[in-house]
Subunit: 244 residues, 2 copies
Amino acid sequence: MAEQRKGTLGASCLSCPLRQRNEWSVLNEAETRLLARSRKSRDYRAGESVFTMGEPSHGLYCVVSGTVAIRKSDAEGNVIPIRLAYPGDTLGYRGLLLDAKRRYSAEALGPSRICFIDKPVVKTLLDRNPALGQQFLHRIANDLDAAHDHLMRNATLSNRSKFVHLLLALMNRHGCTATDGSRFMELPLSRRDLASMIGTRHETLSRIIGRLEEDGLARFSGRTVHLTQPHSLVQEIQRPSRLD
Amino acid sequence: MAEQRKGTLGASCLSCPLRQRNEWSVLNEAETRLLARSRKSRDYRAGESVFTMGEPSHGLYCVVSGTVAIRKSDAEGNVIPIRLAYPGDTLGYRGLLLDAKRRYSAEALGPSRICFIDKPVVKTLLDRNPALGQQFLHRIANDLDAAHDHLMRNATLSNRSKFVHLLLALMNRHGCTATDGSRFMELPLSRRDLASMIGTRHETLSRIIGRLEEDGLARFSGRTVHLTQPHSLVQEIQRPSRLD
DNA sequence: CGCCAGGTTGATTTCGCTCAAGCAATGTGG
DNA sequence: CCACATTGCTTGAGCGAAATCAACCTGGCG
């Protein structure tokens, strides 16, 4: 029965709508068939770990559905989410390409389906199709850009601005727009995680949220966020709060 | 005469000691000859710009001698050094690989010699030798790691710890050790630049430096730094200043 | 000489961290 | 089904760190 599920999902690799939008799109049919045969699909429950810092890299993960948090932790035990991954994203290429141990851990934030592709298969595909390597280069170069942008914002912005940035970025992925232009979403992360993403304490984030509500810009209830004035928030991060 | 200089330097590409230690080491002799013929060497004065944010990417730069600062700036006019590049480092691969405009600017911090390799030549070499692409992947993956480490430190450490980290990192590159184990260096960057690298104001950095001197850990005079107790500083960043 | 950029220092205020208490939702074992 | 612990979040009070504004110093440089 597991075999059968694997079979039907194997066929879906060829027709996988996500494949059109990520690095695997450069594979020809034969290569895609190899991919479909080798990859293993698995369902994860909310909170389940996909991989953990320190373990060896045995292959790549490809998110089919759900949201996955990539976290990094240091010697003092601090854990901070580096980024979130969504359907179509490929995880773990860094460890694979460098043939190194995992430097991050990945956790499914909700029920998710994730495909696993064994390292030898990836190597074979990389050898047979040089364009695949190019695709990974693109991916990683964009990640590097994103990391540097993040670095820059953390160095220059106030905590409030950093949080507004984060809110708007999350809204792009998780939000929907109401008829009056206001926006809604369910936060994918706890407030603790959100706080550590902007390099602050959860108490401070709580107060920032309080101030946003006082200003009439947003309403928070549990994990539900309602941005009543999304435009004002966009302005807020474009207009420098500190002029020099 | 410029031709002659180019000629002799062209020969030096084959024998370039730096080439042994960077991505170009995977080229065979014929490929290296092509590299040597095409690349253009140029001397930069202190403070001279190598490339600037926003301009198109026409090729790669390979640092032969000197130190180069890679900086990023935002809409508000803040400029922060992202990293420093040293002999053997290759600059500008991000823009080249993504075929995008420069997102950073590069400036020679002192008199430097830097080789330029035209985009078509790089493309040719990438096509002829797949291992070169792998090398760039390694390079960029390591840069990504470094950026994430930086991100993590900025999110969790105090300004003082961040500065000590920075000092020790710079000392690795620029420092020399005295017989008593203390270490010296000439700072490659202004205090303003150092301050923005750790995301703080230059006045604050001034006070941090003052405190380090009070603690007897270092002495600063102009751009000369003397770390009297390097070991204590290493301990300081290993021992968590804040235990939770 | 005056000017300027880079750096230091001081005074003041703002901000964020820490510690601590309290609260709601959830889960667990009896 | 209730007593109880646990987890995630909020709120308050006090304090320390850092931003801000401003003065001043220093060494180059026209």
